[in-house]
C-alpha cells in the first residue's frame, strides 16, 4: 500500500470531498504544484483550474474556481468558491455559459463588466476542460 494523505475539498456551501488520496496536482498561483504525502507545511493561492487527484492508482479531475490550498501533516485542505468533480459537470450548461460570456465580451457595450465576463468565460472553459 502506498502512503496516503487526507484531502478535503471545501466550498462555502458544503464539503465536496473528504477522503484518503495518494497524490494531488493543483493549479497554484505561480504554476502547478504536486503534493505527495508528508509534504512540508504550505499555503498557496489557487488559480481557476483543474485539480488532478490520484486515488487508488487512478486519476480524477475536479474543476475549481480559484481559492486556497493548505498542506500540513499529510492533510491537504482545498478551499474554493466552487468545486465540481469532472463527472458531475453539466457540459451543456458550461457550453451555454461560455457562449454567453463570449457574446458579452464581443458586444463591447459600455455597461458590461469586462473583467467579470472574462472570469465567467475562464470558469466555463475550465469546466469544459475538466469534463473532457
Amino acid at each position: 500500500m502506498a502512503k496516503t494523505q487526507r484531502l478535503d475539498i471545501v466550498t462555502p456551501e458544503k464539503v465536496v470531498f473528504s477522503e484518503e488520496i495518494e497524490f494531488i496536482v493543483a493549479p497554484g498561483a505561480d504554476g502547478e504544484l504536486g503534493i505527495l504525502p508528508e509534504h512540508a507545511p504550505l499555503v498557496t493561492a489557487l488559480k481557476i483550474g483543474v485539480l488532478r487527484v490520484q486515488q487508488g492508482g487512478k486519476f480524477f479531475k475536479v474543476a475549481v474556481s480559484g481559492g486556497f490550498m493548505e498542506v500540513k501533516n499529510s492533510r491537504v485542505v482545498v478551499l474554493a468558491d466552487t468545486a465540481e468533480r469532472a463527472d458531475e459537470i453539466d457540459v451543456e450548461r458550461a457550453r451555454a455559459a461560455k457562449q454567453r460570456a463570449e457574446q458579452r465580451l464581443a458586444s463591447k457595450s459600455p455597461e458590461i463588466d469586462i473583467a467579470r465576463a472574462e472570469i465567467a468565460l475562464q470558469k466555463a472553459l475550465n469546466r469544459i476542460k475538466a469534463a473532457e
Binding site: 497554484g28 498561483a29 507545511p41 499555503v43 493561492a45 481559492g67 486556497f68
Partner: protein, 283 residues
C-alpha cells in the same frame, strides 16, 4: 350577549385562521431544518478560512492591505439583515430596533439593506440607503453574499466609508434569536491559537499575496454566514410565532364554543318557559 348565529360565524372564521397558522408553522419547520443544514454545512469553510487567515496574518508579520487599514472614521456603513416577510414575531422588529439604536448617534450613516423589511424601514425614515438586496429567496447562495461583500469592499477601498458593521440576528436556538453587531471592515485578523509547536509554512507565491486574496474571501464568508444565520433565525421565529398563534386560536375557539352552548341552552330554556307559560294561561 351575542346571538348564536354571530358566535357560529366567529368560530368558523377563527377555525380557518387556525388552519392557516398551522400550515405556516409546518412550512416554517421544514424550511428551518433546511436553513439549519445550510448553516451547518457552511461552518467547515468558515472555520478553515479563519484558521488559515490567522496563520497567514501572523506569518506575514503585519503586512499591510487596504482591507486591514484602520482609518479615522468619517462615515460608517451598516449592513442590516432582516427577512423579506413578516409574520415571524418580533424577529424583524428586534433587528431593526437594534440597528436604529446603533445609528441614532452616527452622523450620516450609510445603510446597506438586506431583506425587504430592512429596506422599507430605512427608506421610510429617510436614511441614505446605499444599496438594497431583497427577495433573496429561501436558500442563500454564496454568490449573493459575494455581491454584497464586493459592494462594501469597493466602497471601503474607495474611501467612501471607513468602517462597516453587520447587524443581524444571531441564531442561538429555535426559540432564541439575538440581534448582534459584528465589525466587518476593517478586517480584524483573528488571533492565532497556540496549539502545539509553531509550524513554519511555505507560502506560495508569498505570504502577502496569499493574504491579499484571502481577505476578500474572508469578508465574503462572514457576510454569507450572517445571512445564513438570519435565514435560520427567521424560520425559527416564524415557527414559534405561528405555534403560539395556533394555540391562541384553539383557546379562543374553546371559549366561544362554551358561550355558544350557553346561548343555545338559554334560547331553549326560554322557549320551554314560553310554551309552559302559554299552556298555563289557557287553563
Amino acid at each position: 350577549m351575542p346571538s348564536a348565529r354571530d358566535l357560529r360565524r366567529r368560530i368558523k372564521s377563527i377555525k380557518s385562521t387556525q388552519q392557516i397558522t398551522k400550515a405556516m408553522k409546518m412550512v416554517a419547520a421544514a424550511k428551518l431544518r433546511r436553513a439549519q443544514e445550510a448553516a451547518e454545512s457552511a461552518r467547515p469553510f468558515a472555520l478553515k478560512i479563519k484558521d488559515v487567515l490567522s496563520r497567514v496574518a501572523a506569518a506575514s508579520g503585519g503586512a499591510s492591505h487596504p482591507l486591514l487599514e484602520v482609518r479615522e472614521v468619517k462615515r460608517t456603513a451598516y449592513i442590516v439583515i432582516t427577512a423579506d416577510r413578516g409574520l415571524c414575531g418580533g424577529f424583524n422588529a428586534n433587528v431593526l430596533r437594534r440597528a436604529a439604536a446603533e445609528v441614532r448617534d452616527v452622523p450620516n450613516p450609510a445603510i446597506i439593506a438586506v431583506g425587504r423589511k430592512s429596506r422599507d424601514y430605512f427608506t421610510r425614515r429617510g436614511f441614505d440607503v446605499a444599496a438594497s438586496y431583497v427577495r433573496l429567496g429561501e436558500t442563500i447562495q454564496f454568490s449573493q453574499a459575494k455581491e454584497i461583500a464586493k459592494f462594501v469592499m469597493d466602497k471601503y477601498m474607495a474611501g467612501e466609508v471607513d468602517e462597516v458593521y453587520l447587524i443581524f440576528s444571531e441564531f442561538v436556538n429555535v426559540l432564541t434569536q439575538r440581534p448582534v453587531k459584528v465589525k466587518l471592515l476593517p478586517v480584524e485578523t483573528p488571533a492565532e491559537e497556540n496549539k502545539g509547536p509553531k509550524v513554519e509554512y511555505i507560502f506560495e507565491p508569498s505570504a502577502e499575496s496569499v493574504l491579499a486574496s484571502l481577505l476578500p474571501t474572508y469578508v465574503e464568508t462572514t457576510v454569507f454566514r450572517a445571512m445564513l444565520e438570519a435565514k435560520a433565525g427567521e424560520q425559527g421565529a416564524r415557527m414559534t410565532a405561528m405555534d403560539s398563534a395556533t394555540k391562541n386560536a384553539k383557546e379562543l375557539i374553546y371559549k366561544l364554543t362554551l358561550s355558544l352552548n350557553r346561548a343555545r341552552q338559554a334560547a331553549i330554556t326560554k322557549e320551554i318557559s314560553e310554551i309552559v307559560g302559554g299552556a298555563a294561561a289557557l287553563e
